[in-house]
Symmetry: C3
Subunit: 426 residues, 3 copies
């Protein structure tokens, strides 16, 4: 439970907010690389942290992410013409380069120096891991590019998608670090249909449906572990890292791809739910890719031309009440639709002053505490945690350990990301 | 005309409002019985008096009406799984019984007593007259179930429907007690087409198109009478009871069913318009039922899957201007669509500070006075009027009386509801 | 750039605002004449300067424009029955004449004089130039009817249309007086396809793409001139008059019709964009009319039953990015859709506190100054400029003049409107 002030602090990310200032110190996943496929391609719109932006790729292939509205008289640069190394406003022809500098002002006299004094808000961009990243903070504080494992893998080994979720980023992210909901929200009643080959871990999970949760503070965020009893001497641990400010990683069963998310504010009532599957040691299989393209697993089938899932709050996520009786907890198809259903139903910005948290919410409590501490630290001049890119080289893991061994020690090696040197976990 | 303060007082019914406190002292029609047809059926959503609620029927057939959002982390229980005597939140599996008690918390340790301390706001329910009723007030003040005539009749003798009207409850109810609009709004120019068999009353109405209105205070509300001259010695009276806080009853012509309404706030800008036809002495005929099912008479044809009429403000109620010239006052088909057109066009919450009331608005003035008096009385510790269920056994009536006989005396007997012993009125 | 206060002052036109008071001193184009085609036709709705109004034509053919809501109990008179010299509210039958006087109150006693004291807000109407005009200001200050050239021509010589633009009136009007955007926003890359016969002026425009702008104050508003070099001794001038408070006139090339606009506030976030083509000396040709009916040129193809263009902000004005590369600046078809795209993309009410105006915005700066001066003048008791109808007899013109001759002197004769005596300009 949070106070009203704490809830406001954590859920507001626009310009001038404290949480917004914190988030702007990190690289932010902005666009899928294929949204800007080539030089001089059409510009695209994206709202991030309450700012309406336009992305484009210039004639030299450089990427730009700029304020949507032309500083002259405010027309949207989304309608702009992307030509000859700049995005030209169609209203009067003012043209801007990827750095936001006005480079042409055809409606002013040729001798005018006005254009040199006109700049458009612009953020640096970089492509990594199939994603175009941006940095919206103070230029002198720009950190190194992220080194999350999936960002370092070549294309056949990772697959990223995004959807627009219709609620505040925090309640979406809280779903991502909330291991205790998996056994209910995403439960299918047909065990055979969902059994993975060679996964002893899956068997442990089915046997012990009342895991205990442990949360361990690390420099970049949290390690969240679900502990299940294997036998009198051993525990089975499933460990989910949470990385500042919004990344989660899901331990796979067997030799399946690792899954991960980023939960990025669009505006305060919408967030970008990024979903990534990756395998450090092998290309994703045709079957796996077909599944992702179909919007299954942690991905979503979208309404064409939009980032909105086909199953959404207007159609009650296509719930099938008969299927809810016989097939799954929800009667809703797809992990992401199930997550959306519960998270969006909490309202556009969930009011945390009336909730009732239990022991299984320990990770959520810890993450809020870390976020509040980072926000307040920044206000007092402390650097935010997790900016060291090397610290992001972390992996989710599942391990069997003797009782008495702390999970973060016993799994120390398994938690290290090693692109190219993957060994299947338990 | 009301002051701004009075208008606010009467039109706001949410939690914490004075009018809301008054309304919560009465049983409230919440759902049609067929919305919860059987044990463990899917839950349904309903908003009442500004509160978002979920109704369900448990494995034992008991009905529950509970707050929509799970007290744990706020997911909607509409998506809940109705199973083994409780509604289970699909997010983490918390389960609630019809009384709102948390009866299972599978994500907490087995030995935890947390669940005993978690309750969901829940309101008692009862089924009567084909309707599921709820009581949202202080438990110690729960009155006896309503005894409106139609609630006491077996199914073949009554038919109830509801629609969502897109305006405040009060302007809808004012339409219901406003007999003077009938001759205009609902007028058809084709006398033959609308003539009922054996109705002398209808003839009186057509002959005298300038009725005088009299309003008589009774303990449960008002008797509103329209007086028309029959001959030098007699008046024809049509008497419409209004029962606190929102019931109206319409006198029939001849041996036709009696009609009635309840006007119940959903939120302040929407209300549930309940429409009921009943005949105390005989089953409704196949023709009558076919008419109601078709959304004619006082009922509405709805957009499937919604409570919204097919004729609504987005399509100007399907007005036909040619028909307005030749066939009816409005060119709109159906009594309920005609009512919606004028009442919704007054705006979401009608501003009564600029209206111009005339003598024919006497009933509206009287009802507002009664409501204001009841609200203020309750604030000063007085019990609301009309809580005595026996007092609700009242019927609309039409009678011919000698001039000089007060209508409420001359019609005293005809105004008493007598389920099973109906005698056709004039 | 304006201060926040100035921007508010110029963009708010509702009842009680300073700008609204100024605008209400002029005749306002309200409806197309064909919207009220005959006596007792159906009433129509229109919102002007934030007021919801209903227009009708009574049995004698007189036009009325009245407040939408019945003063009795607020029902919309749009649903009213237009009959026997009055518009009758369908709720209780109150009937109003074109002057707003209540002339029948059938639900009141015949001897009642109540109706004599009930009036509906009503504005005088007049038909001129295919348009129904209204005057919403103080009756004692009603000016003579407008004498804009197109209003004085018979039907075959002028064509008027309107569309609802989804932004504040001022940013729409600023587009109308902003000659410098023509060369960019409306530019087609296919010179041959857009070449008009016998237009030397078009050739001058193509040769000199950096016109200089001069703005000249006149009593009724502004003369805005774009100057291009013809040769060492001559300039080519294109002169656009702006008339208080919202009229613009576009100089034609060759013997083509003159174009003009009126930008009239519906509410503060929507405006009526009126578009008129006229030829003072000849009937519009079948080809020209076919073009206008198709929604081309300065007209718009509308969604049937609405005033909304088919190309609108919900479909990104049907932008074709391939066409934007090869055919036109925008990839959007139609001058009005191109204007809408940039003007609506500035937001519902453009914030002028952050813009960057250049030398080519001189006309906009001058118009704002004139409007602010007129608003403040009116507040201090000065009569608004441009009320003299004779002063509105002005025409756009294009002329070639020796260098050194001021355009407003050299073009003095060409700028005079002379219905019936047209001579094609350069």
């Amino acid at each position: 439970m949070l106070s009203r002030e704490e809830n406001e602090l954590l859920t507001r990310g626009g310009p001038g907010t404290a949480m917004g200032a914190l988030m702007r110190r990190y690289w932010i996943p902005a666009l899928l690389a294929w949204e800007l496929p080539e030089a001089d391609c059409p510009p695209v719109r994206v709202t991030l942290l309450g700012e309406r932006l336009v992305g484009f790729r210039d004639s030299a292939g450089r990427m730009g992410l700029v304020a949507e509205h032309c500083p002259h008289r405010g027309a949207s640069l989304y309608f702009g013409r992307n030509e000859e190394c700049g995005l030209r406003c169609v209203y009067h022809g003012w043209k801007f380069d990827v750095a936001g500098q006005c480079v042409d002002m055809p409606n002013e006299p040729a001798e005018s120096t006005f254009k040199e004094r006109v700049r458009l808000r612009a953020y640096p961009c970089a492509e990594r891991g199939g994603v175009i990243w941006t940095y919206m903070g103070p230029p002198e504080r720009q950190p190194a590019l992220p080194e999350l494992e999936w960002t370092l893998l070549p294309e056949p080994r990772r697959y990223a998608s995004k959807r627009l979720q219709e609620c505040n980023w925090l309640q979406a992210m809280e779903g991502g670090i909330d291991s205790s909901h998996i056994s209910f929200l995403h439960r299918s009643f047909n065990l055979e249909a969902t059994r993975l080959p060679n996964s002893q871990g899956q068997e442990y999970v089915r046997r012990d449906r009342h895991p205990r949760f442990e949360v361990h503070d690390v420099d970049y965020g949290l390690l969240i572990a679900a502990r299940r009893t294997v036998d009198e001497e051993q525990y089975y641990w499933r460990i989910t890292p949470w990385l500042m400010p919004w990344y989660t990683i899901i331990p796979p069963f067997g030799d399946n791809p690792i899954g991960g998310h980023a939960w990025v504010p669009a505006d305060d009532e919408h967030c970008w739910a990024w979903s990534i599957d990756w395998h450090p040691a092998r290309p994703l299989s045709a079957t796996e890719l077909a599944t992702y393209h179909a919007g299954l697993g942690i991905h979503s089938a979208l309404i064409p031309g939009t980032w909105r899932p086909q199953a959404n709050q207007d159609n009650d996520y296509l719930i099938d009440r008969q299927s809810q009786r016989t097939t799954s907890t929800t009667g809703i198809v797809g992990i992401s639709a199930q997550d959306c259903a519960v998270q969006e139903s909490m309202g556009p910005i969930y009011d945390r002053t009336t909730e009732h948290l239990g022991t299984s919410d320990a990770a959520i409590i810890a993450a809020r505490r870390r976020l509040l501490s980072a926000v307040r630290g920044l206000q007092h001049g402390q650097e935010p945690p997790g900016l060291d890119a090397a610290s992001q080289r972390v992996r989710a893991a599942s391990v069997v350990l003797p009782k008495g061994v702390p999970f973060y020690e016993g799994a120390r090696d398994a938690l290290v990301a090693r692109p190219e040197s993957y060994v299947a976990s338990a």
